[in-house]
């Protein structure tokens, strides 16, 4: 193990085995993540500096509960030698959670800029939306429509194709 960390930590650093990055959630929990996994997040990539043993990176927008799962996701996706099919199956299990959690993943993935997680979770929500009528969508996501009756009428008229 080399005594000093390589200057550029953005690239994979073979001389510093399993360089761990510390993250702190909004509620004060600390998590450790391998650098390779952390690099899945563009936000983290930008934040990681040259100091191998740096202080934990604070993530005020993500709770411990979600951050734990995000770390799990990134670690899995940084694992070498996982074939596409089993990764897909793992992903499917990962998002097999309740609605609220999926949305929390979306927000975390958006904030941390993790394209794989963002893509996965947005697809899940898109699947929830597909095939539903606007009323069903509102009921499903508990959304209040604040259209006035006239607006609602106009919107429906413009989109009548979708109801045929």
């Amino acid at each position: 193990m080399s005594s000093s960390p390589p200057p550029s930590s953005a690239a994979a650093s073979p001389s510093c085995p399993k360089k761990m990055i510390a993250l702190r959630s909004s509620d004060g929990e600390t998590f450790e993540i391998e650098e390779a996994a952390a690099l899945q997040s563009k936000t983290l990539e930008n934040m990681i500096d040259e100091d191998c043993a740096g202080t934990p990176i604070p993530l005020p927008n993500v709770t411990g509960k979600i951050l734990a799962k995000v770390v799990e996701f990134c670690s899995k996706h940084a694992e070498p030698g996982v074939d596409d099919e089993s990764l897909r199956a793992w992903d499917a299990e990962f998002v097999n959670v309740e609605q609220a959690t999926v949305f929390d993943y979306i927000l975390a993935a958006n904030f941390l800029e993790i394209p794989t997680l963002l893509n996965l979770t947005c697809n899940v929500v898109a699947d929830m939306i597909r095939g539903k009528t606007p009323d069903e969508i509102r009921k499903f996501f508990n959304i209040k429509s604040i259209f006035s009756p006239e607006e609602e009428e106009e919107v429906r008229r413009e989109n009548h194709w979708a109801f045929e």
């Binding site: 909004s26 005020p60 927008n61 709770t63 609605q99 609220a100 959690t101 999926v102 949305f103 929390d104 979306i106 927000l107 958006n110 904030f111 963002l118 947005c122 697809n123 929500v125 898109a126 939306i129 597909r130 095939g131 539903k132 009528t133 606007p134 969508i137 509102r138 009921k139 996501f141 508990n142 959304i143 209040k144 429509s145 604040i146 259209f147 006035s148 607006e151 609602e152 919107v155 429906r156 008229r157 413009e158 989109n159 009548h160 194709w161 979708a162 109801f163």
Partner: protein
Amino acid sequence: MGCCGDDDDDDREPPPRTPDLSPPPPSAAAASSSSSASAADDSTISPMNSHFSALACRDTLRLIFEKLPVPDLARATCVCRIWSSVASDRDMVTRAFAAPWRLKEVVGVPSSGSFWRDNGVGKFAISHRIKRGDSVASLAVKYSVQVMDIKRLNNMMSDHGIYPRERLLIPISNPDILIDSTCYIERDNHAREVAMLYPEGVRDIEISSLLKRTTSEQGKKRILDSLRRSMQVDDGTAQYYLSISDGDPRAALSEFSEDLRWERRVGLA
């Protein structure tokens, strides 16, 4: 991060206050009896649930909607105001419209947003410039369509010749022709707005007549306004020059400069 375009509520830690999505109208639709909505929060989406800020944030909505095909995007437009706004964005509707056909681009401004809500193959047509020797029969063979379909699309009641016309519209039989193409929004012979394909590319003359034909009332007003601003004249004068140039703003501007030059020369201005 630039999220949550509607409001500056950045707080996403639970339990957050979900952002105000729109000012509560006096006739606030307290219709849906959502379980424990606090009285003051009638205007917000599900105030008790933190995760709904993901559904009220334009960025994330955009990412989600990008995965929806045209009919689902159309239905999403009807859900609530912010969904409607994101789902009607020009880039969004163009993407959904173009995706299944792998179009490169869609040019033009439709007269109504409903144009984007149907992207079946019947929404497209080929604009074939008539050359010597063309006949309806030969074109039917060339494009692999029925003679009847060409006649119908071009309002050809009888068997009169096609030569007085400049072009014939041809329905699409092979969708592969749309791949990587540019389509122009125009009205067909039945005044329906369609996405037109020009297999030989579009010439200048066609472009300007296209501009004229696809320009809606709003578009015309915009052209008039910008002309008036560049010429620094009143509405009536701008209107006059636009009309003598057949609606072409560039020609209008050059006519105007000509006149201005003449006026200066003879000492009138």
